[in-house]
């Protein structure tokens, strides 16, 4: 693996022609428009210098929860539920045994195969988060529901790998809810492991944002079948130069965990805050990378935004990615 690979985390702001009519396109027409948006976003990613392009900004998906949930049996969406202020998401109610009606992301893999791109990483929503964000009106326990989602994600990842064919496929399991119930880390562990159980030829990433305690995650890392942990750091770090890089103190804890393991794990280092337009200058990003390099070998360190950039405009998103790539190149030269 190359040193300091830069990677996208997942979502990127959709062009208006796609977002404004996302739910009203007919299926065939939608695929064409989503492809067009993906190609434009890929072009933008490549111009920014990004090495791993994810799935071109998740142009086929409206949102990480609703996309898979609406493709399952046994779940019904009765309407939106508030997340904050006047922001809502469609929360599903699990009323029966859950089944996958059709694959969730196969068209994205097929598109990338057609394009002969192999520097991709496919984000999928994790079973624990699917469970935590749903009403459970059927399964006996949260654990049982999480494991049922784990089985569904296993089917999905198996299909994605099968469609991809030869060569390692990078899969990123998104689990923003992973550390929100500290007493349930065993459920996170078992359901994520269930999602990848028995699948050969994949490199599994785990992306966890909105966490106030990554230590919970590091505690289960030795038993978790995950190779790369893509985590957020920039949004908790001061923007002053030559600071103590307080937001990155968990890198040391990650290293301590990694040192206890015989299996090698890597870290995806969030270096740009996705919650604000502030454009982190190259020297600041460079400092953040250099700080992490005190603990992690360059081939085990990947560089990414804290999370998907969908909340920023495409222009700001591009600038953030470009600064990230330029900072990475400067550090790589000095290695």
């Amino acid at each position: 693996m190359m040193d300091l690979v830069t990677q996208e985390i997942g979502s990127f702001r959709k062009p208006t022609y796609l977002s404004s009519k996302f739910r009203s396109y007919k299926e065939d027409e939608f695929i064409e428009v989503a492809k067009k948006a993906t190609l434009e976003t890929l072009d933008l990613f490549e111009k920014s210098g990004l090495m791993n392009v994810g799935v071109g900004g998740e142009m086929f998906r409206w949102e990480m929860y609703e996309h898979p949930i609406s493709r399952m049996e046994g779940v019904e969406i009765f309407g939106p539920v508030r997340s904050f202020d006047n922001r809502y998401y469609n929360k599903g109610s699990v009323y029966g045994d859950i089944l996958r009606k059709k694959p969730f992301h196969i068209e994205e893999v097929q598109l990338f195969k057609e394009l002969k791109k192999n520097n991709i990483k496919i984000p999928v929503t994790g079973p624990y988060t699917l469970m935590d964000w749903s009403f459970n009106d059927h399964y006996k326990s949260r654990e049982e529901l999480a494991m049922a989602f784990g089985k569904i994600m296993n089917e999905e990842i198996r299909d994605l790998k099968s469609a991809w064919g030869e060569g390692t496929l990078q899969i990123q399991i998104d689990e923003p809810a992973a550390t929100t119930h500290p007493e349930e880390m065993n459920i996170v562990l078992d359901s994520v492991n269930e999602s990848v159980k028995g699948i050969e030829g994949i490199e599994t990433h785990l992306h966890v944002c909105y966490s106030t305690d990554y230590g919970l995650l590091f505690d289960i890392a030795p038993s978790l079948n995950v190779s790369v942990y893509n985590l957020e750091f920039a949004n908790r770090d001061p923007i002053s130069l030559e600071g103590e890089r307080k937001g990155y103190e968990d890198v040391r804890r990650f290293k301590e965990t990694a040192d206890t393991m015989t299996r090698k794990i890597s870290l995806g280092l969030g270096v740009t805050d996705i919650h604000r337009d502030y454009l982190e200058p190259i020297p600041l990003i460079r400092e953040r990378i250099e700080y992490a390099l005190k603990y992690i070998e360059p081939e085990r360190l990947r560089i990414n935004p804290d999370c998907g950039l969908r909340t920023r405009s495409r222009e700001v998103g591009f600038e953030k990615l470009r600064n990230m790539s330029l900072a990475r190149d400067e550090v790589a030269k000095s290695l």
Binding site: F78, G79, P80, V81, R82, S83, F84, D85, N86, Y88, Y89, K91, S93, Y95, D132, W133, F135, N136, D137, A177, T180, H181, Y210
Partner: protein, 290 residues
């Protein structure tokens, strides 16, 4: 046993209201126009409560962007901090940053405020069923970042609540403590000023502090704990975290029928955690209906 139904907290907004807020946030709807829509929607909610025969209900709090916001925005010395997770849910609120409790601003007349739809905070109904709502003092402090003197702030907050009660001329008030509370004694003066319903989470350890206080009802997970400190004990039982309608309420409360002549039956959390269509059905289940 007589069952008394109670619905408290933020009620889910209709699609009409969500769209109106979307337009208001983009500047396509004025604050005055938005305020009229909030008023209309509140009236519809009251009709719905009447239809479902809910005995007591709080204001729907349709323009409260979270459980704390209009209150903390009406007190000098409190600023809004970053988004914070509400308990272990996928719902967030703006964390108040409290340096001191300053002057109380007008909160029950039309007023534009930053980062929240326009006030008034309440849309009163002239009915004995109507309850004003205030977030519990203990929880408000737990949900905030306190930079000033904690005890001073707590005492001043209680005084401010008394001022709000007096200014608005509240007759009936519901106080909701979504977090475990360690000082229920702080409500002594409030219970003397207004008929008070208190919704608690967890179990308070210092029950002695409740001696001599006059709550109308204390609603909790276990009605026995507080029954001697109020006129009518209450239980949180209608599940706001499940979309299943028939919760078997009657069956569940039957066990208390030998011990209590009257009992308040309430929701476990704000119905804002439910889709509106489910909330509109669930209100008929409080006394074992649909």
């Amino acid at each position: 046993m007589e069952l008394i139904s109670l619905l408290y907290g933020i009620y889910p907004r209709s699609e009409n209201l969500r769209k109106a807020y979307g337009k208001w946030e983009k500047g396509q709807l004025t604050s005055k126009e938005t305020s009229s829509i909030i008023e209309e929607e509140s009236r519809r909610y009251y009709d719905l409560m009447n239809e479902a025969s809910i005995d007591y209900f709080t204001d729907p709090l349709f323009n409260w962007y979270d459980l704390l916001r209009p209150v903390v925005l009406s007190i000098d010395g409190i600023k809004l901090g970053p988004l914070a997770r509400y308990k272990a849910t996928n719902t967030f609120y703006r964390e108040p940053e409290i340096e001191k409790i300053g002057k109380l601003l007008e909160m029950n007349e039309f007023r534009e405020v930053e980062e929240n739809p326009p006030l008034p905070a309440y849309h009163e109904l002239d009915s004995e069923s109507y309850l004003y709502f205030l977030p519990g003092i203990n929880s408000l402090l737990k949900m905030s970042k306190i930079t000033g003197n904690f005890m001073d702030i707590k005492e001043r907050l209680k005084d401010t609540y008394l001022e709000i009660i007096k200014k608005i001329k509240m007759k009936r008030l519901l106080i909701y403590e979504p977090f475990e509370s360690d000082d229920i004694g702080i409500y002594g003066e409030i219970t003397e000023a207004v008929t008070t319903f208190l919704v608690l989470t967890g179990s308070a350890e210092k029950l002695k502090a409740l001696e001599g206080m006059k709550f109308f009802s204390i609603i909790s997970d276990n009605p026995y704990t507080y029954s001697k400190y109020c006129e009518v004990p209450g239980i949180k039982i209608v599940d706001a975290q499940s979309t299943r309608i028939n919760d078997g309420i009657l069956q569940k409360v039957k066990q208390y029928s030998e011990d209590f002549q009257k009992m308040v039956v309430a929701n476990t959390e704000s119905f804002d955690f439910l889709p509106r269509v489910i909330a509109d059905k669930k209100i008929f289940s409080f006394k074992g209906g649909e």
